[in-house]
């Protein structure tokens, strides 16, 4: 995978497939980017499990915080990393020991570790680096267009509403949006 530029179909495929996301480096502070992404993904129907050793045992928006990935009792589809690039490798190594193994390692905006990515890809996982799942969901669902962001998508089909309220959009079927990035 070229990690400088992902096809929309790759990102859409991941966001349409994963259901349970473990968020490593989660902050319970409401003004932190990880809290934004956590809350947003929960609202879009994902199960999001916060991971932070300093907050373990507490609950945020009804979700229990775990100290580390291997403490989570349920299967995880995707690990979303909100840690500095230098901390990613051991997180991937820990993810590789999980049974079943997660399908996706996702590193947040500004986070990139090519060695960790290679390790995960060699184990058959999909990897996304330097992206935010909230922004990508918003972009591919067209919600982000409401704040003037260039979604880099064109379509002559209606965007699909999420079905809960009027200001929430869903990713819709895969062929809805023509990729162009």
């Amino acid at each position: 995978m070229n990690h400088d530029s992902y096809p929309d179909s790759y990102i859409r495929g991941i966001l349409n497939t994963v259901k349970t996301v473990a968020m490593v480096g989660f902050s319970p502070k409401e003004n932190r980017p990880s809290y934004f992404a956590f809350k947003y993904l929960l609202e879009r129907g994902y199960r999001v499990i916060p991971v932070n050793p300093g907050q373990a045992g507490k609950e945020v928006l009804g979700q229990k915080i775990y100290a580390k990935l291997s403490d989570i009792p349920d299967p995880i589809d995707m690990v979303d990393v909100f840690r500095g690039s230098e901390h990613v490798l051991p997180i991937v190594q820990e993810a590789l020991t999980l049974q079943p193994k997660p399908q996706v390692i996702w590193m947040q905006l500004t986070v990139r570790n090519d060695e960790a990515a290679r390790l995960a890809e060699e184990a058959g996982m999909k990897v996304v680096m330097n992206r935010c799942p909230k922004i990508e969901y918003g972009r591919l669902s067209t919600e982000i267009s409401w704040i003037g962001v260039n979604s880099r998508t064109l379509s002559s089909k209606r965007a699909q509403m999420y079905g809960k309220g009027v200001q929430r959009m869903s990713l819709g079927p895969k062929e809805e949006t023509k990729d162009k990035n």
Binding site: N31, I147, G148, V166, R168, D179
Partner: protein, 428 residues
């Protein structure tokens, strides 16, 4: 997915970017959402929107779905990450500077600018403590010399109004990068059809949509495009972007919004608090104009070249400043930055001086004597007595608006009729 990596062409983007069918009604043209406000789904949704935790609409001063289509359209045409529509080109400049400057800060600006911008920078900005330092685009080293530790950005026009001046964007962009400050480019006269400043190092592009983008002389509007290229956090020089904002309970915009944080800062700190929002109706008219931008812009340029060539052979004319003419001082830069055409606004000098200028604008019948540019209609003005009147004589000459100067904005009429009107007025 054979087309997965295909980027649509300019004409396709001009029509489609940002404008999917309306999700609730299926309306194919962009609806005019002429409403001040938008209902919240529930209390929690409202809290998320106000906290910038959800994407959505609150109040038209902060964002509106019709305006949002315009924002995405222009951002896509410029190759940027995001846009922000505002009430005018002047408002766009104020909002950009508000996101970058603190009292006592400086910015370096080309002294060859639209007269209204020169006024705004010289006078209005003084009240905010934002200090302009002028540099000469004909001597690039003056930009480098003007940089001080207080410099927060460099501001230029790609093709400068009124005199058909093409600015060396790439060279000035290199100076900005070296200084660690963003390059702001006003791309009003070129439009992204002729020139995309982001390709040459612009970090922010501003527009008066009033001109060629809207193109029909019916709506005032402005737009800011974030290139997504500048690292706002590196030198900790831009507190609006890299420091916790008290307006949003300590949120840091750059770390939260990444490569479109500047557009968000302009929206949620500038537009929200200063208030120059664009009317959704104006956004609709401008969007309709943009759909034909590539067709119009090429015709504007082709007509302008024909008129400039004709004028340059007339005995009444001392000089013609159109960068599309061979031998023009800016012809090489025009070939690099605007190869499809050098725009449709240019100046020329009348041998008869001030009086001949007044006579010409009085005698034309097809050209309209008014202060705008970038209309379907051909327009004429005598800058010394109008747009540049408030400048000193020295500044007028510096800005290319001396007493003998007449400015034309060539429209989309038949070029034979445009030339016939000028010929009749010149010989009357």
């Amino acid at each position: 997915m054979a087309d997965a990596d295909r980027i649509p062409g300019f004409a396709t983007l001009s029509i489609h970017a940002g404008a999917k069918p309306d999700p609730t009604t299926g309306a194919r043209a962009t609806p005019i959402y002429q409403t001040t406000s938008f209902v919240f789904d529930d209390v929690e949704h409202a809290a998320s929107l106000f906290g910038l935790q959800a994407f959505g609409n609150i109040y038209t001063r902060i964002g509106n779905p019709t305006c949002a289509v315009l924002e995405e359209r222009v951002a896509a045409l410029e190759g940027g990450t995001a846009g922000l529509a505002v009430a005018s080109g002047h408002a766009a400049q104020v909002i950009v500077m508000h996101a970058l400057m603190m009292p006592g800060d400086e910015f370096v600006a080309s002294k060859k600018l639209y007269g209204g911008s020169i006024n705004q920078f010289n006078h209005s900005y003084k009240n905010f403590g934002w200090n302009v330092v002028w540099a000469d685009p004909d001597d690039i080293s003056t930009f480098e010399k003007a940089i001080t530790p207080k410099t927060k950005c460099i501001f230029i026009e790609s093709i400068a109004n009124p005199g058909g001046i093409v600015t060396d964007i790439e060279a000035i962009g290199n100076i900005a990068r070296k200084a660690g400050v963003p390059l702001i480019v006003d791309n009003t006269l070129a439009t992204p059809y002729l020139c995309k400043p982001i390709d040459y190092g612009a970090d922010v592009v501003v527009h008066s949509l009033t001109k060629f983008l809207g193109g029909h002389g019916n709506s005032i509007g402005g737009l800011i495009v974030d290139a997504g290229s500048f690292n706002w956090s590196r030198d900790k020089k831009y507190p609006m972007l890299c420091e916790p904002r008290p307006e949003y309970s300590g949120m840091v915009l750059h770390e939260t919004f990444g490569n479109f944080a500047f557009a968000i800062a302009c929206r949620v700190l500038g537009l929200r608090d200063l208030g120059p929002a664009l009317s959704p109706f104006n956004a609709f008219l401008i969007l309709t104009g943009i759909e034909t931008l590539p067709l119009r812009m090429q015709r504007h340029c082709d007509n302008a070249l024909a008129v400039a060539e004709w004028l340059s052979k007339r005995p009444e004319i001392a000089w013609v400043s159109y960068p599309g003419l061979p031998g023009n001082k800016y012809n090489t830069l025009a070939a690099k930055y605007a190869p499809k055409g050098a725009g449709a606004v240019f100046t020329f000098g009348l041998k008869g001086g001030y009086d001949a200028g007044v006579k010409l604008v009085s005698n034309v019948k097809l050209f309209s004597h008014l202060a705008n540019i970038g209309d379907t209609r051909s327009l004429i003005i005598h800058p010394a007595s109008t747009t540049h009147k408030q400048l000193s004589d020295a500044q007028k000459v510096q800005a290319g608006a001396g007493p003998d100067v007449v400015r034309l904005s060539i429209g989309l009429e038949d070029k034979e009729d445009i030339i016939a009107d000028l010929e009749e007025a010149l010989t009357a």
